[in-house]
Amino acid sequence: MSDAILRSPLHDQHVALGATLVPFAGWEMPVRYTSDIAEHTAVRTGAGLFDLSHMGEIAIRGEDAGAFLDFALVGRLSALALAGAKYTMLCTPDGGVIDDLIVYRRDHDHFVIVANASNKDVVVEELAARVEGFDATVEDESAQIALIAVQGPLAEGIVARMCTRGDDDIHAMKYYSTANVLLQGDIHAFVARTGYTGEDGFELFVGADEAAAVWALALAEGAADGIVPCGLSSRDTLRLEAGMPLYGQELTRETTPFDAGLGRIAVFGTAAKPRGDFVGREALLKAKVEGPDRVLVGLVGDGRRAARTGYAVLDEAGAAVGEVTSGAPSPTLGRPIAMAYVPASLAEPGTVVGIDVRGRREDMTVTALPFYSRAS
């Protein structure tokens, strides 16, 4: 693997928009275009446009594609409906999280996995190692695919207007489903009603060579709705308010899905709906039965100083008993919010804990996740 910094097919567009570009998982990506808060607020109240071309796209094809994913991942993907989408994870045999993924079913024998940029190569390697014996192939298609997201309450109208064929499908799509549409004449797009913002929204998979045209189209069709290009900084505060985990912070190889409160995605099967062996099964079943000894909780502060990743959670006596995984001043709530691992004894909503904020204690209150839910 080369150490060269990777650039999105939309790099020139970002530069022209005056984006601040930063290194991110081996890529140079926009952290913001103008203002983190303005970008965050646009997604909560209107629409935001994200370049997610750094994300990995991995195609699984073959008669055994579903059976292979059932073995390789913690979910039962063979049961996923055609055109459906599912949040799942790739775990180690010990039950540790290698990456969290969204899997899309494009056909009975064709799935697409979206992986975090930082983990993409590892995910491809792990899947390739696990595919032996299955009639299935694992192909890294990341370089050929650009991923562009339109997120926010006005996203549906904008994406429908971008379609020359399939706009009815956009209006009819349920959350976590997909459709194939044509954009601006004859640009093929695979569209998923998914996202990482806590809002309604769509993710558009298009050929890398057509990314610029699709980006321009989204800005043009979204102009009347005030669409705003959004960078990684707003993406992070949006997902944090929505209580969504981020790999490397809430999820690591040292955490199981149960630690993160996401044990439901591990499917062990029932008598009526049996499931065979999968990587991590034994360890995850043990984790389920024993229950986690630490719990991922939401924290809200009354002060102004925000807890940040890595800060210690303190008990009443001031002893470090947990760790903050993500934290920021919430643009929507106007207060500091955080996610943290704490002992089960401190996980009850309403419990007050201390955070060591650069040597000074700030109190925060345990609260149910998410911090923000859209009106449905």
Partner: protein
């Protein structure tokens, strides 16, 4: 490219100083436009308090943005004589008017500052 006014002096930690930084004089301190842009939207400024002693090159407060937190260093040594109270309600002014209404505190110097950079030298550090 951010603005670096000629008439100000600068610290390597991205603070600006307005006024002659001589012992006994009072100067005004803020952060540079470059520093404010790097932080993003500033949502909280913890400045030193009036009467506090500050030391050149040492931490005297912090700046919190949605993206990150950054320490505020004093570019000079002396006693704090005023703080910008309007930043309590409008911390974003530090970003929107870094060299004007976004000033952070004033200091009466106990010793003449010798480590400050002129505009040209500071601009070279951020080029």
């Amino acid at each position: 490219m951010s603005n670096v006014p000629d008439e100000l002096a600068y610290s390597a930690e991205h603070e600006w100083v307005s006024g002659e930084p001589d012992a006994g004089a009072e100067v005004t301190v803020g952060i540079t436009e470059h520093a404010a842009q790097a932080l993003g939207d500033i949502v909280y400024v913890e400045a030193p308090r009036v009467g506090d002693t500050v030391v050149a090159g040492e931490v005297c407060g912090e700046l919190e943005s949605t993206k990150a937190v950054s320490e505020l260093y004093s570019p000079v040594s002396g006693t704090v004589t005023a703080v910008n109270e309007s930043l309590e309600a409008s911390p974003e002014t530090v970003g929107s008017d870094a060299y004007g209404d976004g000033w952070i505190f004033k200091v009466e110097l106990t010793e003449t500052a010798t480590d400050l950079l002129d505009a040209e030298a500071y601009a070279a550090t951020i080029a």
